[in-house]
Amino acid sequence: MTTRAERGRRPPGSRQRVVVFAGQVLIIALIFLVWQSMSGNPQNGSPVNEFLFGKPSDIWLRFVEGIQDGSLPAAIGVTLEEALIGLAIGAGAGIVLAFALSLTWFGRRVLAPMVFALYAVPRFVLAPYFIFVFGLGLWSKVALVGAVSFFYAFMSTFQGALSVDAELDAVARMMQASRFQLVRTVNFPSAMIWVALSLKQATPNAFQAAIVAELLASNAGLGLVMSSSENRFDINGVLVGTLVTTALAILIYGLVQLATRPLLQWRSTPDADR
């Protein structure tokens, strides 16, 4: 008898992975190379205006400069702090509230639709209001990030908590599961896929929210780096901020993926002994 374990989905060959990665690096390098060679002063006949579109070598210099004088690491720290605190509070509240509302008829039928209705409020529009209430510092950014990540977590978790298979539920009750045991062994784990998914969606958006709030009004952070560079017509400074933010979001996304993997291990392990 063959099991799926024996048939085994073979992990993608490491050689193939190297080729894929090398190809992607090559394409990015090519883009930067073309950009670098074409960018310059338009009065000298350069096809790409470096005052509008920047120049990779100048972006790099600007990046190194920022690292050396400590302004860039400080800004990264501030934005990271805002995004992570906001994500933890917002997503945490969303997950807990979704579960709580899914448990009772009143929660499901009366309260949850009201939360869904709030989803229609464009969150970024709230940014000026949060700045007005919480000031220029950390907490106005945390509030916006929280408002954004709350809905990602709430929507998915609520959907997951309600998507428990009816037969699974019936069988567990025949086995004399108590209400609490049912939630712990069936409802909660089956919602975990959705929770993990929602965290992955919320992460890049949390960064976006932090940056938007900073761009609007702030006294620190990557958004401030970008807006003050812009005010000095320093396009390379703006691009440093953009690229660093992108890199951070990818990095954190990877970490979330890694952190949620144990939750989803059962879906895709070809090897039972792992």
């Binding site: 099991t3 374990a5 037969e167 879906r267």
Partner: protein, 287 residues
């Protein structure tokens, strides 16, 4: 609904019942009407079903789709309440979920995020059985269904037949007195099905279970059961009951070639076809 006080008011009946073992499952004039939004959409799934099943019997409910055989099973499980008549389980009127039964359906109800051994032990966890006893009982029942060595596998890593055996193990481990099976081996290939049939009969003979087995496959029913109850459609009702004469323990492989078995099978087919002339099912149609 039926008359809950019926039995208590007649002490003589209770005394008489002591002489011979009382059937574990009794359906009296049971009907079920499913209503949609209004009377217009209501339909009668089951009409005037009378059925009593003795403890320790292996009974198959057979019939075409829509004959109400699964409805009867779900009523015994306590998932559906009859709209007419009385359903008694172990002498008492059935109310709410029946926790004396094990319930296995065609669908996979293993918890996909639990490894095999933790799936099998779940009922014992619910019931607060100690960790040590749990481990012993789980190991023994996993061996009984031939899954030793696969304890650490997730359901997704097991074949369909193995998942069925795992479900069987998970149900047997808490020793329910009655096993309700709803087309349990429908999605399993023919070769694995023979193994599962043997295993089920073996477990039934050793554990003294009562088994109610729903299938649309007459041959499967005759191979396994003491008694075959044939259902018809429109409305769902019992059209025939047949006692199966073959001795126990059965060798289900040689039974298939037995002449008497073949005669009984075709006789039942004719009966089923006569009572369901309009439903268009025919011998071999669903195999």
């Amino acid at each position: 609904m039926g008359e809950p006080g019926d039995v208590a008011e007649q002490p003589s009946a209770t005394v008489a019942a002591k002489d011979r073992p009382r059937p574990i499952i009794e359906l009296e004039h049971v009907g079920k009407r499913f209503t949609g939004d209004g009377e217009r959409t209501s339909h009668e799934a089951l009409q005037d079903v009378n059925l009593s099943i003795d403890r320790g019997r292996f009974v198959c409910l057979v019939g075409p789709s829509g004959c109400g055989k699964s409805t009867v099973l779900n009523m015994i499980a306590g998932l559906i309440t009859p709209s007419e008549g009385t359903l008694r389980y172990a002498g008492g009127q059935q109310q709410g979920i029946n926790t004396h039964v094990g319930y296995i359906t065609q669908k996979d109800t293993l918890l996909p995020w639990r490894r095999l051994e933790r799936n099998v032990s779940i009922a014992l966890e619910y019931q607060g059985v100690s960790r040590q006893e749990r481990r012993q009982r789980v190991r023994s029942v996993i061996e009984q269904v031939g899954l030793a060595g696969f304890e650490k596998y997730y359901p997704a890593q097991l074949s369909g037949g193995m998942r069925k055996r795992a479900t069987l193990a998970r149900t047997l481990v808490y020793e329910p007195e009655t096993l309700l099976l709803d087309e349990p081996f429908g999605a399993v290939d023919a070769i694995q099905r023979v193994t599962l049939h043997k295993m089920l009969l073996d477990l039934w003979e050793r554990a003294g279970l009562t088994v109610i087995f729903v299938t649309h496959d007459l041959e499967e029913a005759l191979l396994l059961a003491d008694e075959v109850v044939v259902f018809g459609t429109k409305p769902g009702r019992i059209v025939h009951r047949e006692s199966v004469p073959f001795e126990r323990p059965r060798d289900i492989l040689s039974l298939r070639g037995n002449a008497e078995f073949g005669e009984l099978l075709s006789a039942l087919w004719h009966r089923l076809e006569a009572s369901n002339a309009t439903t268009g099912i025919r011998p071999g149609g669903e195999r």
